[in-house]
Symmetry: C2
Subunit: 150 residues, 2 copies
């Protein structure tokens, strides 16, 4: 509880990542898929479930721009806000080649579940930072990282 209050004062984001690792899968390949999106992820695998925590969202932000999927990402994130969390599901297979692909729960070999847990930051603000509105395919307004934590 105290930790959460402190975090709110300091404003921070926890990225919580989870996916199942099936018997035919190669743990290293699944770990690499996660690191492709969040290079600073700290990963543990227990009872066929991979869990990870990360802080740096900028690489993921960069990938969204490189792959020109800001509108899709924005829509997916806006419909996935719940309290101080935004949870999205990404395709584990395309993650192996750093490709962001939003999927449903029953995606092949189960998706990667990514939860952005926000302390002292409005979900909409994070969404504006990661996936701003676009016009003619270009962001209308790009938030600076400093503005995210204002």
């Amino acid at each position: 509880k105290v930790e959460a209050v402190l975090k709110s004062i300091l404003k921070s984001i926890d990225v919580i990542i989870e996916t199942r690792v099936y018997p035919t899968e190669d743990e290293e390949k699944v770990v690499k898929a996660i690191k492709n999106f969040f290079p600073d992820a700290e990963i543990s695998i227990e009872d066929d479930v991979l869990r990870a925590r990360a802080k740096n969202i900028n690489h993921f932000r960069e990938l969204l721009r490189m792959q020109k999927i800001l509108d899709t990402a924005r829509n997916e994130m806006l419909k996935s806000v719940s309290g101080n969390e935004i949870t999205i599901l990404l395709n584990k297979q395309t993650a192996t080649v750093s490709r962001i692909n939003f999927v449903e729960e029953d995606a092949i070999l189960s998706p990667i579940k990514i939860t952005f847990r926000l302390y002292g930051i409005q979900p909409e603000r994070l969404i504006d930072y990661l996936a701003p509105e676009t016009r003619d395919g270009r962001p209308v307004k790009e938030l600076k990282e400093s503005e995210l934590f204002e």
Copy 2:
């Protein structure tokens, strides 16, 4: 064509196996899963698809008995007859521990597709050999391998 006619005269069974190998999967684990059911399988993997051929069905037959799933197997096979072929779908994940588990096409874990292609043998006869009717959990009549090829 000639080959098929010859095979019919000689009466034989081809086991044709197919499954996708996804980017996060370990090829060796998938190969092992196949060999768990058909030890004599000759396997090739191309463009993320594993294809194999086998002749020996006795190990698979033995597993059906050990796991006491003759009734399930019989029902699945009876409803999967098409011409001179019987095609079943098995769970790739449980195959890694030699466990036979019948699944639907859209299994999240992409099934192993096994086709028994019969030459000069009636499908029902193969089913009687692999998964005979049971009473109180025991086969009513066990066909000998020689009777299969009569």
